[in-house]
């Protein structure tokens, strides 16, 4: 092939693709919207259901001690915070301006990703602390009804479960999430450096 007289522009324009009918595109758009709505409803439903369940326990069993009530509130709080932060973190992307030039767009994208990383780490830690505290407080009233041996056993088991969560499950989950975001951040940084090379 003689490379010296290749007309790149002409070759470039030789590539074509059938234009999908506009109706297909509209259908796709509707699909996107429906999906998004469904997703939001699903997360909020989960939150509402859990809260209803916990409130039901409160009303049905009529806890007497304030520790139980605080425990319940902390557990609800932990879950609400977790779900809200996930939604919030997704929403960050809706604010990005897609019509910005690449240089600025990348900068904003990176800022969002770093913020996501921060939210995830902080919220996950907070979630575990609130949940553990909540469960610990919630149990107190019921362990008072048990013999000392059983009470120690119950707290021991719960304590063990919490430690397992804190030292094994939490770091593992965090590492997985962080790695995913960090990979993307690295890729975007690499693209950014491409632009700034002279």
């Amino acid at each position: 092939m003689d490379a010296s007289n290749i007309d790149l522009n002409e070759l470039w324009a030789g590539q074509n693709s059938d234009k999908p009918v506009l109706k297909d595109l509209h259908n796709k758009m509707d699909g996107f919207k429906k999906n998004y709505r469904r997703k939001i409803i699903r997360t909020n439903l989960l939150l509402v259901l859990t809260s209803v369940f916990i409130v039901f326990i409160w009303v049905y069993f009529q806890p007497e001690l304030i520790t139980t009530k605080i425990g319940i509130v902390l557990v609800i709080l932990a879950m609400a915070m977790f779900i809200l932060s996930t939604t919030k973190s997704l929403e960050l992307f809706n604010k990005i301006d897609e019509t910005d030039d690449t240089q600025h767009y990348l900068k904003k994208l990176l800022a969002i990703k770093e913020k996501q990383l921060y939210i995830q780490t902080t919220i996950l830690n907070l979630y575990f602390v609130l949940l553990s505290l909540g469960i610990g407080l919630y149990m107190y009233e019921y362990t008072l009804l048990m013999s000392t041996v059983w009470a120690v056993f119950a707290y021991g088991l719960t304590g063990l479960w919490i430690l397992l969560n804190w030292f094994f499950i939490r770091p593992k989950q965090m590492k997985k999430q962080q790695q995913k975001i960090n990979d993307i951040i690295d890729k975007f940084k690499n693209i950014q450096s491409q632009l700034n090379q002279e």
């Binding site: 092939m1 003689d2 490379a3 010296s4 290749i6 790149l8 522009n9 070759l11 470039w12 324009a13 030789g14 590539q15 074509n16 693709s17 234009k19 999908p20 506009l22 595109l25 796709k28 758009m29 996107f32 897609e98 019509t99 910005d100 030039d101 690449t102 240089q103 600025h104 767009y105 990348l106 994208l109 993307i184 890729k187 975007f188 693209i191 491409q194 632009l195 700034n196 002279e198």
Partner: protein
Amino acid sequence: MAFEEIYNTYWQKIFRLCMGFTNDHDLAQDMAQETFIIVWKQLPKFRNESNIGTWIYRIATNNCLRQIEKQKRFPSAEMPKNITEEKQTNIEPKIQLLYKFISELKETDRIIISLELENINQAEIASIVGISEANTRVKIHRIKEKLTQKFKENGRK
């Protein structure tokens, strides 16, 4: 400008840009569609003070880069060859080669050369990508050299 008019005018151009980026016909088609969905959503916010072409190409370019996040698929260079080629048997081999070579470049180079080959002037390219005109000119020159080199090497094989 009405959406339908934009769609008719820009579909092939945007498709080619996505194709240069991925060299994967199906993926490029999806990406082009995504671009137009964003265009459709953003159109009410478009102000006539800027060029509609620049505006659309910015959306398309940013959308291409966002693919990196979604890329669970193989990077284009590692795609099994017969899959990409099968879809384009009706296309001249030289054209296929050009798109293959472009998709092997660095991400931003793919975008810049695609815009250049679409006959967009360099000042506009600079404003789409957000770098200086001088830098754009240098980059285009280097990329074209690289592409010609690739064609030469291919011819010798």
